[in-house]
Symmetry: C2
DNA sequence: GTCTATAAAGTGATAGAC
DNA sequence: GTCTATCACTTTATAGAC
């Protein structure tokens, strides 16, 4: 009886799964869940589709793993950024920067998540409810505490978070349109710098934390 | 020889096409292009799939007509909103309001367009290049002229437009996630009022047009 | 002008070989 | 433990009937 080769730090299975997941995230980001065929994913990963289904028994299992990885990565970067004890300005700056960095470094992850939400989150609503919503609500609560303490101007905290989310996420999701406007092959680091400056400025001005040109 | 009944103001064909397009936009918004089957669209529209393909010879033709209608509606609402002669504050307020109204009244249209862009605009890039990009560039040029004339603070006009687009569009595209945060069945008119207030405030504060709480 | 039978290719999934 | 031949079904599209 042969025993599984546990001595390897990264098993053969782990390597194959990583290859599959890498292609899967690209395909799901382009075509969404229903639009992606496991045959295409398998072909680009260099496997037969039947072989892929040995590692991921169903298409849904593959999709959920992709989305799990997306959330893991995102949550690791955003975890407890909003600390009510820290300076509001610093927190807001860090928040915008972290979210923009994710859009720049993991645009495919962002797009898979966006596609799922736009389509109504039919396959992942439970996980969003469990892992994302509490985090967003906590961030909103921090904003509201700052307002109550008079540290920032009284704005609608919920919609402020929606705004930050929307502006930063769009640099991954709507990159195709932005590159057409900017007449570029792809978004450059300088574009993300410009975006960070503008978004940070807007947010800080909105909550009264930035010395802004006030009309006389 | 029978002649086509041109006397009818709305032909039988127009009515059937409208029914089909109504179901198609819903289906494309949920599942994207590849994820939508014309059989499903036909069934919900009360036709056989073969009959649907009499009116729209290919799936691509149906998809392009749906996207054409989306753009027609959107362009009609946004046409020449940015008039360099008008008051910048009024224009920005009207711009945000018009875009938010579209998100509220035509969320499915917004989502079909968003899905196409996120997937890389593989089937509609030409039309976006032709009909959308020039309009966005014109809006940016107006913002830049205001800056040159000293009417608004010197911000990055391109990214300001990206920000407005992102914030307003997200109330259609990310509605599924927003309703989870807000614990609602669907977004209410009051949510759009709150959104309009916050977004307008952010934009006007960013360009120095709103008397904002300045730190002492 | 409107609708239907049929085809040709592709889908996710399983049972079983190495 | 890893991989493949095969299946039952759905996809878009066409050729042709009413």
């Amino acid at each position: 009886m042969t025993i599984a080769p546990v001595k390897h730090r990264v098993s053969h299975r782990d390597k194959v799964e990583a290859t599959i997941l890498g292609e899967a995230v690209r395909q799901f980001a382009e075509c969404g869940y229903e639009g992606t065929s496991i045959a295409t994913v398998a072909e680009r990963a260099g496997l037969s589709k039947q072989n892929l289904m040995y590692y991921f028994p169903t298409k849904q299992a593959l999709y959920q793993r992709v989305l799990d990885n997306v959330l893991d990565d995102w949550l690791a970067r955003m975890a407890s950024l909003a600390d009510p004890g820290k300076d509001p300005g610093d927190v807001l700056r860090a928040y915008v920067r972290a979210k923009l960095t994710f859009s720049r470094e993991q645009p495919l992850a962002s797009r898979v998540y966006a596609m799922e939400v736009i389509g109504g989150a039919k396959l992942y609503a439970d996980q969003i409810r469990r892992r994302v919503i509490p985090l967003l609500r906590a961030d909103i609560a921090v904003f509201e505490r700052w307002i109550a303490e008079g540290k920032i101007a009284p704005v609608n905290a919920t919609h402020l978070l929606f705004a930050v989310w929307a502006m930063t996420q769009s640099y991954a999701d709507f990159a195709a349109q932005m590159t057409l406007v900017l007449d570029r092959e792809q978004l450059e680091p300088s574009d993300f710098d410009d975006a960070e400056r503008l978004i940070t400025g807007m947010v800080l001005a909105a909550v009264g934390l930035q010395e802004n040109p006030c009309p006389p």
